[in-house]
């Protein structure tokens, strides 16, 4: 097997194994301690986990904290959710705002040179 095939298959196998954790846990949630724990966690899980993902995706680049055009997209998304825009509109507006901010920034820096 070549190194590149090893990379492809090992990355796949390791990720698949990690994702399988839930398949090997108890499926019945009613009375068990696991079920009670799930019940306590459920209402907070989505806001908590998604907040962590938002922060990392919007404000980081590897190890570094960065404030860039993605913040514009984030503000647009917050505003359009506040205005009750349909989800698809929110996503497209956030992308368009971020793209526009990058375009303007690249023009400004280009003309400065």
């Amino acid at each position: 097997m070549t190194r590149s095939w090893l990379l492809a298959l090992a990355t796949g196998t390791v990720t698949m194994a990690i994702k399988s954790v839930g398949a090997f846990m108890p499926t019945r949630s009613d009375s068990s301690a696991f079920g009670r724990a799930t019940k306590k966690l459920t209402p907070l899980l989505l806001p908590g986990v998604l907040t962590a993902l938002i922060v990392v995706q919007a404000f980081s680049e590897g190890h570094r904290l960065v404030l860039d055009a993605r913040a514009i997209g984030l503000i647009i998304a917050l505003l359009s959710v506040k205005l009750r825009a349909p989800p698809a509109v929110t996503l497209v507006c956030a992308a368009a705002g971020t793209a526009l901010a990058r375009l303007i920034y690249s023009h400004v820096t280009a003309s400065a040179i």
Partner: protein, 230 residues
């Protein structure tokens, strides 16, 4: 909820706009994989088995820079660990025999977990399947396209597609901010995750955020509104 296909369809619809972002990343991944010396088949197999953007890019980056396979896998595993936590929280909803539960859990990535977890009664299997199969098809097909045709999308950041996942997560989080505990959670998680970014390996800040969420869930009393939600 009934037995209609509406759960699957709602899941697919929720991630449909993301197809642009996932597709662009897939094309870039396919192209970069060829550039790093992978065959087209190997690139597609890597996407089809891993089905997760960040671990694939991490492994490929280490590999392309001349790192060892072990280092590449370690980088991918660090970023994939959160899927283990997400999959664990989905466990009560993964029904059927073991092989089926293993297959279902393969569909868990950030966006599909988020959509499935936004179900009215907690984690919803049909939403996971609808969202998961949609993004899986886009991910694998776009990898094949990028590995065959080359990178025709350029830098995906130019199109702002990297702002789409966070936007979806805001859409899904907003309706859940209905209690003091939820606000406490998002504030604490945001602060601690931000603080962890410069000091920990990529992937770890998200795990820290999940740990903070669990700590608040288990250590603070559930108030009446929080309890009535689920």
């Amino acid at each position: 909820m009934g037995v209609t296909s509406s759960g699957y369809r709602r899941g697919a619809r929720a991630v449909a706009p993301l197809a642009i972002a996932i597709g662009a990343l897939g094309v870039v991944f396919g192209y970069l994989a060829r550039d790093a010396g992978l065959s087209r088949e190997a690139a597609v197999v890597m996407s089809a088995t891993t089905f997760a953007g960040s671990p694939q890019f991490a492994a490929l980056t280490v590999f392309a820079a001349g790192g060892t396979i072990v280092a590449a896998i370690a980088a991918a595993a660090a970023l994939a660990t959160r899927f283990g936590a997400m999959s664990a929280t989905a466990a009560p909803s993964l029904r059927g025999p073991l092989w089926k539960r293993v297959l279902l859990s393969q569909l868990v990535v950030d966006e599909t977990w988020a959509v499935a977890q936004s179900g009215a009664h907690g984690f919803d299997r049909e939403l996971l399947i609808g969202a998961g199969l949609t993004l899986y098809a886009v991910h694998v097909a776009s990898t094949a396209l990028g590995a065959t045709v080359g990178n025709f999308v350029g830098r995906p950041e130019t199109w702002g597609v990297d702002a789409m996942s966070p936007a979806l997560f805001i859409v899904l989080t907003a309706p859940r901010l209905d209690s003091h505990r939820a606000w406490l959670t998002v504030t604490a998680v945001a602060a601690v995750t931000l603080a962890a970014i410069p000091f920990t390996a990529p992937g770890v800040p998200i795990l820290v955020g999940i740990a903070i969420t669990a700590a608040i869930a288990f250590l603070t009393p559930m108030n009446a509104r929080g309890a009535s939600r689920q």
